[in-house]
Amino acid sequence: MRLFVLKNNYKFIIWLILSFVIVLVGYSLRKDDYATVPLPGTSMDEYSYSWVGLSLIETGYPVGISGIDGYKNQLYKYINVDDVYQSTAGGNPLKINYPWFDHPPTLGLITGGYAWMKGARTFEETNAYLIRKPMLWLGSLTLASLMVLLLINSGYVASVVGGIMWATIPSVVISSRMIQAENGVIPFWLLSLIFISLYRKNRKLGYLIFAGLLAGVVTLFKLSGIVCLLSSIVILLSDSRRYLKRDLMVFFFYYSLIASLFVVYGLIIDPYQFIAIFLSNSSRYYGIGSEAVLKLLTQTKLTNLKYITEPWLLVSWLAFFVALSRKKLSVYAISLCSYLAIYIFFGSYPYGWYSFPFWPFLIAELAVLLSSSIRSVVSPLWAFWSLLLVGGYYLTKFVNIEEFQRFSSWWKNSIFIISVLLMIVSVMKKKAGWMKYLSALLLVLMFTVAVYLSYKFLRTIDIDYWYKLS
């Protein structure tokens, strides 16, 4: 980071100010309606995580709800927190299991701990208003971390473009409010990658140690957080030659110190139950099916039932495929491929939150592609068609087809003219002269319009809209 400050002092200060504004905007968008959208009780996991944390603090014993077989202690109970039994929970009582070992308890300790600090002492008191508050901070941490990661690996423009997208994309904003372990995995994985990236730049062992420790923290949110270890090993393999063996050992040593705490935790509380649930977890129903990858590309699932069409993510998959064709894989592409492997390996039910960890890396790849297009490093046509796809989709949310007829000739002609212009810029490359600046200006303008329209759409997603989502 010091390198950046010294080399580009004024650029860094502008970036810092912009980042601060972007994180502030991102936080305030996440905060609006955070306790009602997604509707509380859509996933009872949100409460379960918090109950685990609360019960650990109050009794020293984790109590939560589980769908996994193998628990010897269970009781059925109606817990009408947030009046879920008058809305989303359905008529079944909750199956309370103890000691609960479905996942490590870190996220529960954060949300349940926050509720406890605010005076909650029973399950009914852990309402969405209380327990989702820490998710806003984690969401903002993710945003800031993504911007820093992009800054280190891809420069200022990509960082700002990526930050703006991550702050405003509707599905990203809504998903980050949910108490799901993935929303804890993402920020700490990004932080670990930041330290790995810093280590790659100046080989200071301290960075590698921090990366290892943070990778361990990721696993303490969810076992699939092992993806952080996998991606880090591949990144280290991709460029470290002289000290490769030492680097891997140091990283793994510090990773293991933290990650093993979950095993220690389980063995202290109830070793037999811990092992039983661990084994039960490994033989779960493989519900994502063989079409899991296709669904990832074509559907943006937020919960277990609710879908939202998200053109930003769709075009970011295209950006990812472009990234795969490069000679050297980026940190983002390696991370995404690692998670794809873990997603297919661990895949149980096709819940929306299992796909959340793809998103920061998809957006990072899109940001890199857009910023490269703006700077005419790559053909601006990619960015143009991507932004047209996003902006065009969101435009349909506000202008119906009859109203659109008034603008149709304007729309057709301008797309035609811009396409021709950008094709010329793509073909002429360095000889394009002033047209390069014009193309950059057009892309910035299109990006601004696309972001504004998606922001406007986000503002329409309230509790009524949530009910209408299929």
């Binding site: 019960s55 009794t59 020293g60 008058q86 008529g91 079944n92 002492r121």
Partner: protein, 145 residues
């Protein structure tokens, strides 16, 4: 020298790790009965006011199979609350436990049901006490006096 310095760092890290493990041992010792904790009543949540019949349980306890009991509450104000509870979630399979569960779920802790309601089970014409045992698929109808 450098190697010694690094080894010191690993040893120090491992000692710090052992200290964290020790803290976990201390923290994870049972401090309070978790069963009592699960059954603890909320204090922050405000007690519901208004008609006892204005709420009802949405949905059916499908996962409990035939282990359910129907509960209909008829109030003097004309409102009727129709519910289906899983028998698995009742502490005891009695009318009293069913009523207690209803009170718990909807937050009518201080309401004295025994004084205000009379209950019948199925199509039986006689009123029953709160200690009356319930079978699967029974229907309990409580009418406000």
């Amino acid at each position: 020298m450098l190697l010694l310095k690094k080894n010191k760092l690993y040893i120090f890290s491992f000692i710090a790790y052992l200290f964290v493990v020790f803290l976990l041992f201390l923290f994870l010792r049972p401090r309070y009965s978790y069963i009592e904790f699960i059954e603890r009543k909320p204090t922050l949540k405000a007690e519901k006011t208004g008609s006892l019949c204005q709420y009802h349980l949405e949905g059916e306890p499908i996962e409990s199979g035939s282990e359910y009991v129907k509960f209909r509450l008829v109030c003097k104000d004309g409102l009727v609350s129709q519910n289906t509870f899983s028998r698995l979630a009742l502490k005891e399979s009695t009318v009293g436990s069913l009523v207690a569960t209803y009170k718990d779920v909807f937050g009518f802790e201080s309401v004295d049901f025994e004084k205000r309601f009379e209950c019948k089970v199925n199509s039986d014409a006689n009123f029953v006490g709160f200690a009356y045992s319930l079978e699967a698929k029974d229907e309990v109808i409580c009418v406000e006096k």
